[in-house]
Symmetry: C2
Subunit: 321 residues, 2 copies
Amino acid sequence: MATVLALDVGGTKLAAAVVDDSGRMLGRGRVPSPTDPDPELLYEALLACAAAALRGADVIPGDLDGIGVAAAGPMVWPSGEVSPLNMPAWRGFPLRKRLAEEFASERVLIHNDAVGLTVGEHWKGAGSGTSNLLGITVSTGVGGGLILDGRLYHGFSGNAGHIGHVVVELDGPACACGGRGCLEAIASGPNAVRHALDDGWRPRPGVVADGVALAAAAAAGDEVALRNVARAGRAAGTAIASCASLLDLEVVAIVGGFSQSGPSFWEPLQRAFTTHAGFPFAAACRVVPGQLGEAAGLLGAAAFVLDPDRYGWDPDPATGH
Amino acid sequence: MATVLALDVGGTKLAAAVVDDSGRMLGRGRVPSPTDPDPELLYEALLACAAAALRGADVIPGDLDGIGVAAAGPMVWPSGEVSPLNMPAWRGFPLRKRLAEEFASERVLIHNDAVGLTVGEHWKGAGSGTSNLLGITVSTGVGGGLILDGRLYHGFSGNAGHIGHVVVELDGPACACGGRGCLEAIASGPNAVRHALDDGWRPRPGVVADGVALAAAAAAGDEVALRNVARAGRAAGTAIASCASLLDLEVVAIVGGFSQSGPSFWEPLQRAFTTHAGFPFAAACRVVPGQLGEAAGLLGAAAFVLDPDRYGWDPDPATGH
């Protein structure tokens, strides 16, 4: 039985699990992400998390068949120097090299966190058994990953899956990517909140104006919140329709963030998808919530190593692309 | 040396070529597409075209290693019953079965014409040597095809590559696909012409108001024509940027139609691409004209059979979709 250490590196929390090839989590660890600017402090917190998972699973590093990591981007892929947007302590941090040394392992695979979620949902969740899947997370950012013909698709430089930067409004708002009118510029939590505040939404006293509060206000019937959550859902449904037409997808799985906010997000999303996915083959694509919740990233990271034929890659290609 | 018969079935013309595995055309045939509603008359015209190519190449059917066909869609794939939108004589016409019987060949592969163009440009044209290519044709319709990780990508039901139905305007015009705001609804020849006429464009006396005339008027400096060709170019550049972000592409090759109309189309296209492809990895994608012109479809059709590892598929899957 193969056993790997899976790590999930995000701006809010660091998580680790020891995962076997049936997808069982034998041990877990979790800590809030340190906000200190010292890169070594962040790295030590990640190691502490890993140690907790190993201890919980009663596994020693020498027993591991490898390490899989899902990390907030951007990063240099496949070499694994990471510069997570919301974690300024790491800029070009050689995470893959450091973990390979630390655990004396040659099989360390690091990919984007949204790619990890997608692989997790394909391996053990909403996309299980399908051959053409788009995974999306609509949260602080809008990210995604692609399983095409049953295998993880990386793209030319490892950046495939950026559905957050599919354009949904020709003259839409400027986006952090440098573009304009991107899905993320409209539907990410912070951007949806900013638009809602401009539109007159006010959270209840003492409540922080974030995506969670906006979704809660919409669920409670606040009209301005409803209108703005619907705007995000509509943008997501439109971009998903574009992807279904372009890629002839079987399933789209939406994980995290607004996908948790119920009909105020889902109904406008499904309506926009139906409006824009005109061809029968595109309309036949199923748009569903993810099934794994927070475990998706860890399971996906584990699957990079545990199922290399479908999800793995050569992290050290002798000849570039 | 392998030799195949390549067929290109379009609403305007039928074309055939005998092609060897170096991409050389040993013989060719071409006839205007019959407009008669008799399906057999259309089929006979295609056979006449094939006979001319075989005679020109001094090849007999028994020498052929297979037959590749690029045909106007839609079609049932991979079984090859075709219903070309602009050729009402064929509705569910069993083209693959008929050709297999006619030429006593088990290797008959039929795919969408835009897929043929893309494969041709990848095999011997603008995408040669690249691993991640989107081919587009902006003409009577807007079609496309995808080479991902060096191989033709079909999608779940053989319909991948429909960039014409990527949404570029949330509240844009209704599209023939049943959707709304699609690239094709704005940038196809007939749709661009319709919009230009509504906008006040008038072709010169005796000139038919089509895409060619609109492009010529723009090239001659007609302001309304310029504005409308630019609108099509801008829509195409925006959709291409979405694809570059989603798929992390290396090259996009534009073939046929407006791509021939010079700076009045290309400059707005490139400007829109630059505006919307924000991330460096997306901006690095090269957007270029195709190199093969009308030969792209025939060469692509030949490559379906001649280079099965990259472009082929099982036309008779025991366990198909």
